[in-house]
Structures are given as structure tokens and as C-alpha cells.
């Protein structure tokens, strides 16, 4: 998949990806980016420039809670933890994405069959 198309597809999914990886536990910014790449087997690599604004916006909305802590491998990091609000938001985004991807698959599949 070319980089430009992938970037377009990734737009709007950063929130879902961030909330998804944080459901499994607390992570800091760089770890979140790496975890998304790992979980998608390299298919998704969120723009680092959009990751932090997304994290801070989710924190402002109450979906995430941030705290400074010593990390396992060195200096203090800003860890993010998903909140109850964030779990609700994750469920909502996941449902939307499921409906969207199903519709998109059907549409694209239909086009291929024709």
C-alpha cells in the first residue's frame, strides 16, 4: 500500500488505535506508537506528529489519565491510562469502525465482482 493512501486511511483512526492499545495497560507516548505498529504487524504507523495532540485531546476529554513516573528503562515518562470514559469511547469507536469497514468491504467486494 502506498504511503499516501495509508496516511489517508489512518486519518481518524488514531483515537481508536490509541484507545485500543491502552486497554491492555499503561504506556507512554513512544511505547504507544511502537505498540500500534506491533499490533498491526507494521500495517499502521501513526504519524508521531498527530499522536501527541490526539493523546492530549483524549486526556482533556477525560478518556485518558496521565501521570509522570519512572520508567523501567531509564528516565521519567508520561504514562497514559485509559479511564472509564475512555473505555466507553473505545466501544463506541470500535462499533463505528466495524460498521464502516463492513460497509467498505461490501462496497469494494461488490466493485471487484463487477
Amino acid at each position: 500500500m502506498s504511503g499516501r493512501i495509508r496516511t489517508q486511511l489512518l486519518k481518524g483512526t488514531t483515537t481508536l488505535l490509541v484507545l485500543t492499545v491502552l486497554r491492555d495497560g499503561e504506556l507512554y507516548g513512544y511505547e504507544i506508537a511502537q505498540r500500534i505498529i506491533q499490533r498491526s504487524s507494521g500495517a499502521f504507523a501513526p504519524s508521531e506528529g498527530s499522536l501527541y495532540p490526539a493523546l492530549h485531546a483524549l486526556e482533556a476529554d477525560g478518556a485518558l489519565q496521565a501521570s509522570w513516573r519512572e520508567s523501567n528503562r531509564g528516565p521519567r515518562r508520561r504514562y497514559y491510562k485509559i479511564t472509564k470514559t475512555g473505555l466507553g469511547m473505545l466501544e463506541e469507536h470500535a462499533n463505528e469502525w466495524a460498521a464502516f469497514s463492513l460497509g467498505m468491504s461490501q462496497a469494494v467486494g461488490g466493485a471487484n465482482q463487477q
Binding site: 513512544y30 506528529g49 501527541y52 485531546a57 482533556a60 509522570w68 531509564g74 528516565p75 521519567r76
Partner: protein, 471 residues
């Protein structure tokens, strides 16, 4: 009993409000603190690429316009991220300089990143919370500042009085700048000082609280609160603060909006000094002294002259053809010659006086006429003349430095009552006055129909009333 319970409830409510507002300010102020240091500096200063990273972070920070703690957090977090990113790239085989450029490039343009982070922090919800919190904190700050201002003003007054007394003891007598106004100038200065302090604390509380809650830099929200403070406290100072006025008090009142604006900007990033226990104790004592003093003064006033603006009304004399109550010469002839007895027979005037006019708040003067009335006379009027202070050393009387009355009112006849209303409380220089009734006689000359009645008063109104008062 109900009044006591109401008082306890109101006092408890006020105290709870003050405690809550102070707690809100302190909580919000945490966002204005220094924040975390950059612990994960990716490249040591002086090393290759350190300048590029520093420049990147500076450009990003310049766009943030957030409170200091947020700026420090964002900067530290991104520095940490760059450190991880560079280390990872170096592990992949990148040279340090290339790794730095690649890591910076992945974050995109620093200014755009800063703008996006600012937008993420400054949501509409936070802005509304900040505005509401600012108003709440301003209310608490106003009350606290007012109490502190009373304490400050009273301490200042005591200090000045002590200094004057010491100077007098060593033979250096200062001129009496406040005149004979029964302490009106001092009271209005104390009041204006308290309001100025209240305006300063209220504006400062509002800026710091709304900045912390809305995640805006204090310097940004200060502009809004400065305008709001200038409008609210400007209105209060110019139109809302009514009472005794003088040039010193009006000058101080006009400074109140300026104080509010200055409080919004000057050293606004720095934490406010939190008042200590002794400041609270002094303020409480000052408040108790003020309340007790007000009760005592009001009790004294109500037993003498009520709430009239006249400080001490003095009736110089009844119209008795020039005997002036047996007083020495009070220079009534400076007004006009006394009317000849043939045109003003005894019994024409049966009594008169002056007092507060309840309808207008002015000073009503009247004379009751009997007998033949004033059939000889035309253009009957009351003339208000400047008078000399009346005290133990001076009997008062017309101030002969003036050659004309400072106010004239036509005498309105209602039944047997001749009356007029003067607004001495709206005249700047009507401290001591004497009102004399005059009229034009059959020969076409103006005569004095009696001696007059006098008193002293002080200006009572707003700063605007003072500034627009007729000279």
C-alpha cells in the same frame, strides 16, 4: 432568634464561599507552576544535533501559549520521545546526526505540532469552566481583598495619625488638608482604599484561576480580565461608590480601574503571596472594629440629625430684625441691607428652619409667614452664602471674602410656608453655608428680610457627580 439563625447561616455561607474560592485559586495555580524538568534530554548540550532539537522544541513551545506547567510537561514529553526515537534509529544503524533529523522529521513541522497541541489542551469545555471559575474566584477575591483593604487602610490611618501626632509634639504642625468635614474625607479614603485592594485581588484571582482551568497562558486571559475589570470596577468607582467625596477620595477612586488592570498584568506569572495567619487575624480584628465603629456612629447620628447629609445643622438666628440671636456681628449686611421695619412689620415671620428634604435628599429651608404676609415685596428668594466655620473659636457668619451667593433659589409659597431646596450635597465647596431670605422692596432695591440660618454639609454622591458638579 430567627435573625440570629439567619446571621449564622449567612456568615457560614460567606466563610464557605471564601474557603472554596481560595481552594479553587490554589488548585488552578498548580498549572501555572514550573512543571517537570526535561529529564530525558536526547542529546547533551554541545553535542551534534543538540541545537537542532533545542530549536525544534523552542519553535513548538512558542506556539503553545499554555500555562507554564503544561508547557514544561509538553516539552519534557516530546524531549523524551525524541530521545527514544533517536536511540531506536541509532540501533537500526543510523548515524546520530541522521537519526536526529529523521526523529525530528517524524514529528512534522514544530509550529504545526505546537498549534495542534494547543488546540488539544484548550477545549471549549475548559474555556467555559475557566470563565466560570474566574468569576467565582473574582467574587471570593473581592470579599477577601475588601477585608484586607480595610485592615490596610486602618493601619495606614493609624500610622499617619501617629506621624502627625509625633510631628505636632515636636512643634511641627501640618496644615489641615481635610478641612471641617467631620471625617468625611478620611472615611471616603478608607473606603476607596478597601475597594482598590478588593479590585486588585479579584482581578488577579480571576486571571490566575481562569488561566489554570482553561489552560491558557495567564498573559492571554489577562487581556480579557483587564478589560472586564476596567469596565466593572470603572463603573463602580465612577458611578457606584456613593458617599462623601473630596478631591483626594475622587482621585483614589479613579485609580481603582487602573489598579484592576495593573493587577491583571503585573507579575501575573508569579505566584501570589498567600496571606499568613497574622494577616487573617489583623483583618478580622479590623472588621470587628469597623462594624462596632459603624454601629456606634450610626447610633450617634440617629440620635441627633438622622441620615441627613447635614453634619451639624445650626440655626444662626430667627429673623428678628438684625439681633442675630444675640451673637456678635455675623456680617449679614454683606448680603443686603436689612429691610426697613415699615415694610416688614413685626410678626411677618413666625418661624423657620432647615433640614433634610426627604424627597430629593437636599437641604430644605423654610420660613413661615403670618400677619400681612409679604404684600410689599417681590422676587422673594433664598440666597446661600459661603460662611465661616462655626466652632469654639469662631461664631461663624457670612464669609465676607465672597461678594455674591453661591446658590439662589426662588422662595415657593405654599400656604403660609415659604420654602426652597438647596443641594449643598452636590456642591464641592459648600462646606459651611448660610441661607438668607431676600426680596425686592417697593423702591426697587433688594433687601434682606431676616438674618439667616446656617450649617455645614459635605459633598455626597459619586465621583461622576463630583466631577460634573457646578463650580
Amino acid at each position: 432568634m430567627i435573625a440570629l439563625l439567619s446571621g449564622i447561616v449567612i456568615l457560614g455561607g460567606v466563610i464557605a464561599f471564601l474557603i472554596t474560592s481560595v481552594a479553587l485559586v490554589r488548585r488552578s495555580e498548580r498549572r501555572l507552576g514550573p512543571g517537570p524538568e526535561e529529564s530525558g534530554s536526547p542529546v547533551a548540550p554541545g553535542q551534534t544535533g543538540a541545537a537542532q532539537i533545542s530549536t525544534f522544541l523552542d519553535r513548538m513551545t512558542a506556539e503553545l501559549r499554555l500555562p507554564a506547567a503544561d508547557v514544561a510537561e509538553v516539552r519534557a514529553e516530546l524531549a523524551d520521545h525524541l530521545g527514544d526515537s533517536i536511540a531506536s534509529l541509532e540501533a537500526e544503524g543510523f548515524e546520530t546526526e541522521r537519526a536526529i533529523l529523521e526523529a525530528l522529521g517524524r514529528l512534522g513541522p514544530p509550529a504545526e505540532l505546537g498549534r495542534q497541541l494547543r488546540a488539544a489542551h484548550q477545549s471549549t469545555r475548559r474555556l467555559l469552566v475557566g470563565a466560570g471559575g474566574g468569576v467565582f474566584a473574582a467574587g471570593g477575591g473581592f470579599v477577601l481583598g475588601y477585608l484586607g483593604g480595610i485592615a490596610l487602610a486602618l493601619l495606614g490611618f493609624v500610622a499617619v495619625s501617629a506621624a502627625v501626632a509625633i510631628l505636632a509634639a515636636v512643634g511641627l504642625h501640618l496644615p489641615g488638608i481635610f478641612g471641617n468635614d467631620n471625617g468625611a474625607t478620611v472615611n471616603s479614603l478608607l473606603y476607596a482604599t478597601s475597594i482598590a485592594m478588593a479590585a486588585a485581588i479579584a482581578t488577579r484571582y480571576a486571571v490566575r484561576t481562569s488561566a489554570g482551568l482553561s489552560r491558557h497562558a495567564p498573559g492571554t486571559v489577562a487581556v480579557f480580565w483587564a478589560v472586564a475589570g476596567a469596565l466593572v470596577f470603572g463603573w463602580l468607582a465612577i458611578f457606584g461608590m456613593r458617599g462623601p467625596q473630596s478631591w483626594p477620595s475622587v482621585g483614589l477612586e479613579l485609580c481603582i480601574p487602573v489598579v484592576a488592570v495593573a493587577a491583571a498584568f503585573v507579575r501575573i506569572e508569579r505566584p501570589m503571596p498567600h496571606v499568613g495567619r497574622w494577616a487573617v487575624v489583623v483583618s478580622a480584628i479590623s472588621l470587628v472594629v469597623l462594624v462596632l465603629g459603624t454601629i456606634v456612629v450610626n447610633a450617634g447620628v440617629s440620635s441627633t440629625s438622622g441620615s441627613a447629609p447635614l453634619a451639624s445643622l445650626i440655626v444662626c438666628s430667627e429673623p428678628d430684625q438684625g439681633t442675630s440671636c444675640g451673637q456678635p456681628d455675623l456680617h449679614f449686611d454683606a448680603v443686603a441691607p436689612m429691610a426697613p421695619a415699615r415694610w416688614l412689620p413685626e410678626g411677618t415671620f413666625t418661624g423657620g428652619g432647615s433640614g433634610s428634604d426627604p424627597a430629593s435628599g437636599g437641604t430644605r429651608v423654610d420660613d413661615t409667614i403670618g400677619g400681612q404676609g409679604l404684600s410689599y415685596w417681590s422676587d422673594v428668594r433664598f440666597e446661600a452664602w459661603h460662611a465661616l466655620p462655626m466652632d469654639a473659636s469662631s461664631p461663624g457668619g457670612i464669609d465676607t471674602r465672597y461678594s455674591a451667593p453661591f446658590a439662589v433659589q426662588a422662595a415657593a409659597l405654599s400656604g403660609n410656608d415659604l420654602a426652597a431646596v438647596f443641594h449643598f450635597e452636590r456642591l464641592r465647596d459648600a462646606t459651611w453655608w448660610c441661607v438668607v431670605i431676600t426680596a425686592v422692596g417697593p423702591d426697587g432695591h433688594r433687601y434682606r428680610l431676616g438674618d439667616g440660618q446656617g450649617g455645614n454639609s459635605y459633598f455626597n454622591g459619586s465621583a461622576w457627580d463630583w466631577l460634573t458638579a457646578p463650580q
